[in-house]
């Protein structure tokens, strides 16, 4: 099959089907409603289920229920909707259920706006919900990458028995790009007999499985948290993904940027190169685990005089960038949070202001 032209939101919906996920629960919200629109048409065609919850709170708990029963399941929403699901995300994380969440981020805080934003970086990588939990967070920079990340998210969620979040932004959801669906990324749902409440008659065990997040005994809760932490540490070892751009040059500035914003930064780097000024970029593809070591290494290059975290928010990822750079180079942030994506010219002016 050749390439087709798809809007990010449609492609995300189709990618989930191609990944082998036939259960989708959601509640509409701009700028991601096209996922539900698309899947309301497509799910019945492939024998899947699309169920619109009465709210995002309901959706969060429907996901918990379905995943606890061993079903491969996912949802999509945008910022305020993810806030409403955050309680369920904490429970799902504690109960170690694999669920894929897609957040097509819009401007905040509060109702904010409907234009693209990356202001849910903290929410995605540091919590949102309560307790010591982490999500594996991936950030696509193109519609094709969104497709691939969605398809990879399901086996990753099952590998770690942990929720995975795809952090897109309004532009990733709304723009159209030519794409194809890599057949090799299709996976079968893993066997969940040893933990899911998938029915006593389907597995050879006399002991019922229990999916829960309540541990009243201090020792048991401590033990549970240690198990969870070991998973997050393993993600840090095995799942860091990033892309480097123009790092083989004697660059004077290092940009760290993800998602839509990184697309602008690529143009910036190309334009500055044409002017004889070298800059480079590390683009985190996973926001948790964060590519700490590659950023530290890139910032340590002798020619590099400044590290700039460029984000569609008022400065969130910069805290992780700063932590990664460990004082090897001065770290600054440039961000915009209203919904207007900075133009390449604007970013070039910012970079030049440091020299």
């Amino acid at each position: 099959m050749g390439k087709i032209l798809m809007k990010g939101n449609e492609a995300i919906g189709e990618a989930a089907i191609r990944a082998g996920c036939l259960n989708y629960f959601a509640y509409p919200i701009t700028p991601q409603s096209e996922v539900a629109e698309y899947l309301s048409r497509r799910m019945p065609e492939v024998g899947g289920v699309f169920l619109q919850g009465e709210s995002e709170i309901a959706v969060g708990n429907m996901l918990f229920g379905a995943a606890g029963c061993g079903a491969r399941v996912f949802t999509t929403s945008s910022s305020p909707g993810i806030s409403l699901m955050s309680e369920a995300i904490s429970y799902i994380s504690s109960a170690q259920c694999p669920v894929v969440f897609v957040n097509i981020v819009r401007g905040g805080p509060g109702l904010g706006g409907i234009l693209p934003s990356q202001a849910d970086y903290f929410q995605a990588t540091k919590g949102g919900g309560h307790g010591d939990y982490r999500l594996l967070v991936m950030a696509p920079a193109s519609v094709q990458e969104a497709v691939e990340m969605v398809m990879k998210a399901f086996p990753l969620a099952e590998k770690y028995r942990n929720p995975v979040m795809i952090l897109g932004d309004g532009l990733i959801g709304q723009m159209m790009e030519p794409i194809e669906f890599p057949e090799h990324l299709r996976t079968e749902p893993s066997n969940k007999d040893d933990w899911a409440t998938n029915g006593m008659d389907t597995r050879n065990s006399s002991k019922p499985n229990l999916v829960k997040s309540l541990f009243l005994n201090a020792e048991l809760l401590e033990e549970h948290n240690v198990v969870l932490k070991a998973k997050y540490d393993r993600m840090k070892q095995e799942e860091v993904r990033y892309e480097s751009y123009n790092v083989d040059t004697d660059y004077q500035a290092l940009i760290v940027s993800f998602g839509t914003m990184s697309r602008v930064c690529r143009t910036v780097i190309d334009n500055l190169k044409a002017q004889g000024f070298e800059t480079a970029m590390i683009r985190p593809q996973t926001l948790f685990p964060f590519p700490e070591a590659p950023i530290k290494k890139a910032a340590s290059k002798e020619s590099c005089q400044v590290v700039l975290s460029i984000e569609l928010n008022m400065g969130q990822m910069v805290e992780d960038v700063d932590r990664s750079v460990q004082g090897k180079c001065p770290v600054h942030c440039y961000g915009k949070a209203g919904g207007d994506v900075p133009t390449p010219e604007e970013v070039i002016d910012v970079i030049k202001s440091f020299f």
Partner: protein, 238 residues
Amino acid sequence: MLIGFNKVEHIKGIVIIVGNFGSGKTEVAVNLAVNRKRSGIDVRIADLDLVNPYFRTREAREPLAELGIDVVLPPEKYLQADLPILSPAIAGLIRRPSQLTLIDAGGDDVGATVLSSLADPFRKKRVHMLQVVNPYRPFTDTVTGCLKMRDQIEKASKITITGILGNANLIDETTVEHIYKGYDFVKEVSDQSGLPLEFITASVELLPQIDVERFSCPVLPIERQLVPPWKKAVRLKK
């Protein structure tokens, strides 16, 4: 650059652009407006897209205004609202049309529904309603899919589609082969529906490589206006 475009001089008065979601209605409408304006006729364009939050005609309002094309939009203060606002100016525009009044409707039958609420101003007016088809989009990659879309849009809008526009493209990855195959496809849609194929499109970058003699219809050159922030729109000259 107008390629065989004198053949579409009958496309005047009120022209409504419909089609499935993401078929390229806005890019086509904007470029058609520019093309006709350059040929010396008065052009107004109305953004009736109440369903799509991004990449709408309103994004191109400045370059269009510079060319003297009047863009009819909801009042400025509601421009960013995530609400379906139908400007009362639209009804006025239909009652007193310019030489070419282009109406860029929203996608699918859902986006075309708003047209039915304009039934009163449309009454007794001669209206062209053209369906944009991009065969590289889901749901209109088969002739049956296109005919189904036609039927749904007609039902929702309560207006009859009068012609087909071929807009085969994969944006930056479009090749000459895509244009040729796309033409053959929309020709088939035209034959099976009995609707005339009014014109097809091709980007200005690709046009020099295309053998226009191969087509039985004119080609509208597309100077891409709706671009993501890291790309530049083609600068429109008068």
